[in-house]
């Protein structure tokens, strides 16, 4: 085999990450205290926890329950608000040089726009990710993604307002994830993040109570990997030119390769990074090993390599 120059860098139509593995939203240590556990230079990038405009206290506890190969969590977007983020967290992150994707949330369209405005022209930020599972106070508290037009409206408005490329973070929980993705792209999304945690619940049969304080939460971890891979595959086939970040249940390099083969341009690691903050770096390293062993030049190279029988999807 001719000497191939392997590169782990990925280019999502202008949004560049030095490695194809990012820490997913809500799963990256923001504090000073983790210096010893992670080396941000071995990360493709960091997606911040979803930021609201004002501080938010979040959901009642307990906020996590373990289920077969997964966890159900409900943090309720606890965060100190976008201003606190800009003062306390971003400067520290920006100094390390790691590309930052800022995740924005809101309970009204207006809040999304206020958060997006507050983040304008901040050094370090390379893109926005729009969290669409937040509840829409103006529409019966349904999640924004539940109404395609409302969702597209949020994504479109943020895209028009912001100078950053915007990734819409879609749950797989829409009857036609392809149509949902298309609506976001038409509205102006630069790319897509697939998928968010899946609505779920766990009950303690001993105490007769929900295992989470908020009863309902989101399922993440290895259990949801097949759901996420399926969503990425379907959207990538329909929208091959739209950059996709794949997320959901990735805990090994093989898992990441599965997503890249399914059509993801980069991947994010959530739950696995909570349990082991060095996991994203180790996964990126493992992807490099896979590329080398199989003679692929780059993560992007995998995007068109899935071998499909003619009969599949018939």
């Amino acid at each position: 085999m001719a000497a191939v120059r392997h590169s782990l860098a990925v280019d999502l139509e202008g949004v560049r990450f030095p490695l194809p593995v990012l820490a997913a939203s809500g799963c990256f240590p923001a504090g000073r205290e983790h210096a010893g556990l992670i080396d941000v230079h071995r990360l493709g990038g960091v997606v911040t926890r979803s930021l609201t405009y004002g501080p938010s206290k979040g959901a009642p506890t307990p906020r996590v329950a373990e289920t077969p190969s997964g966890i159900v969590t409900s943090v309720g977007a606890q965060n100190a608000g976008v201003r606190e983020f800009l003062v306390e967290e971003l400067p520290r992150l920006a100094k390390t040089g790691v590309p930052v994707v800022a995740s924005i949330a809101g309970s009204t369209m207006e809040e999304y726009l206020r958060v997006a405005s507050a983040l304008q022209s901040e050094p370090g930020i390379v893109a926005l990710e729009v969290y669409l599972s937040a509840r829409d106070r103006e529409h019966d508290d349904l999640p924004f993604y539940a109404r395609r037009d409302v969702m597209a409206d949020v994504v479109g408005s943020v895209s028009r307002l912001s100078s950053y490329p915007v990734f819409a973070k879609l749950p797989a929980f829409v009857p036609d994830v392809v149509e949902a993705a298309r609506a976001c792209v038409r509205a102006g999304a630069h790319g897509l993040t697939l998928i968010d945690a899946v609505p779920a619940m766990a009950i303690d049969t001993r105490t007769l109570r929900p295992r989470l304080g908020s009863a309902l939460g989101g399922l993440s971890g290895p259990a949801i990997k097949p759901i996420a891979v399926g969503a990425v595959f379907r959207v990538a086939r329909a929208l091959p030119d739209v950059p996709i970040m794949g997320v959901g249940g990735i805990s090994t390099a093989e898992d990441a390769v599965e997503f890249l083969l399914a059509g993801a341009w980069a991947v994010q690691v959530g739950t696995a990074a909570l349990v082991d903050p060095s996991a994203p770096a180790a996964i990126a390293q493992g992807v490099l090993g896979y590329l080398k062993e199989r003679g692929f030049a780059s993560p992007a190279d995998l995007r068109h390599r899935l071998r499909l029988d003619p009969e599949a999807l018939a």
Partner: protein, 290 residues
């Protein structure tokens, strides 16, 4: 915090409890009472999360130098798996995590209150307090005799001791709360430390507030990361200025808190309320000697 591959040096059973002693000098050197470790579960099972255990013993000197001990009663898939582990196996351990109990600088008489596995960090604390010349008295509670953690050690560590079991199988029948006032008076306690059920911790809090005694309690909350990342483990803590409360992380901001600042009503949800609780803006005990 350090992450190490730690060899199990020794396993032993103590009543209902299992104890694991690990070789983990990087952690043991830094460990202080109240801090905890996070232990990875095997990747080939259904487990997703690490499990968390208070540090019961960390030896810096002597024959056991560099070792670390934690203690648990098997009661779920994670602790069941750990109970089967054998000497010379390796565990993936992160620690020490969290904020430790603070030692009183001026005050002398310390009453330590523990329930069930809460005794693990409390005995460690007792030892460190004694080493600092404090008087230590103990209240140890449990459901039954075999759940009274290492009573012999408890007696060795304390000047005066009250053991209470729900079924009366060891010591007095009842709850820790029943002997609390008596022990406070009998021992002339100037500081109180506690680890155990929320119910008990709250009773300790109420009493200490009433008597304006400085206190520290170690709490537990379901944790996803244990590392301060995810904010699943929060507890409502009233601000120093009384202007409201913040959801602080048990794993990173705790697990040791000033019980007078915990917003008990919120934290305990709809569990039975036996005591009045501080409203927002509650005047906190700020007499803690730091």
């Amino acid at each position: 915090m350090r992450r190490v591959r730690a060899e199990i040096l020794n396993t032993r059973k103590l009543g209902a409890y299992h104890s694991l002693t690990l070789v983990a000098p990087e952690i043991a050197e830094r460990a202080r009472p109240g801090q905890f470790v996070s232990v990875a579960m095997p990747a080939d099972r259904r487990f997703v999360l690490r499990r968390h255990f208070s540090i019961h013993q960390a030896s810096r000197r002597g024959g056991w130098a560099g070792t670390l001990e934690f203690v648990f009663d098997p009661r779920g898939p994670g602790t069941d798996w750990l109970a089967e582990s054998k000497a010379h196996q390796f565990l993936d351990v992160i620690g020490p995590l969290g904020k430790a109990f603070a030692y009183p600088r001026r005050l002398g008489n310390c009453l330590l209150v523990s329930e069930e596995h809460g005794s693990a960090p409390i005995y460690f604390l007792a030892q460190e307090l004694r080493a600092r010349g404090k008087r230590v008295d103990l209240i140890v509670g449990a459901s039954s005799e075999d759940h009274v953690f290492n009573p012999i050690e408890a007696k060795r560590l304390s000047q005066q001791i009250a053991i209470v079991t729900a079924d009366g199988s060891l010591g007095e029948r009842g709850r820790v709360e029943d002997v609390l006032v008596g022990m406070l008076d009998a021992t002339g306690a100037e500081v109180v430390y506690a680890a155990g059920s929320r119910r008990m911790l709250r009773a300790v809090a109420e009493l200490c507030i009433e008597r304006r005694l400085p206190a520290q309690v170690a709490v537990e909350e379901q944790m996803a990361c244990g590392l301060g990342i995810c904010q699943t483990c929060v507890i409502p803590v009233i601000r120093k200025d009384g202007s409201g409360y913040d959801n602080l992380r048990v794993c990173a901001d705790g697990p040791v808190f000033n019980p007078a600042r915990i917003f008990w009503d919120r934290w305990m949800g709809d569990e039975p309320r036996t005591l009045s609780t501080p409203p927002e803006g509650f005047p906190v005990v700020s007499a803690w000697p730091r």
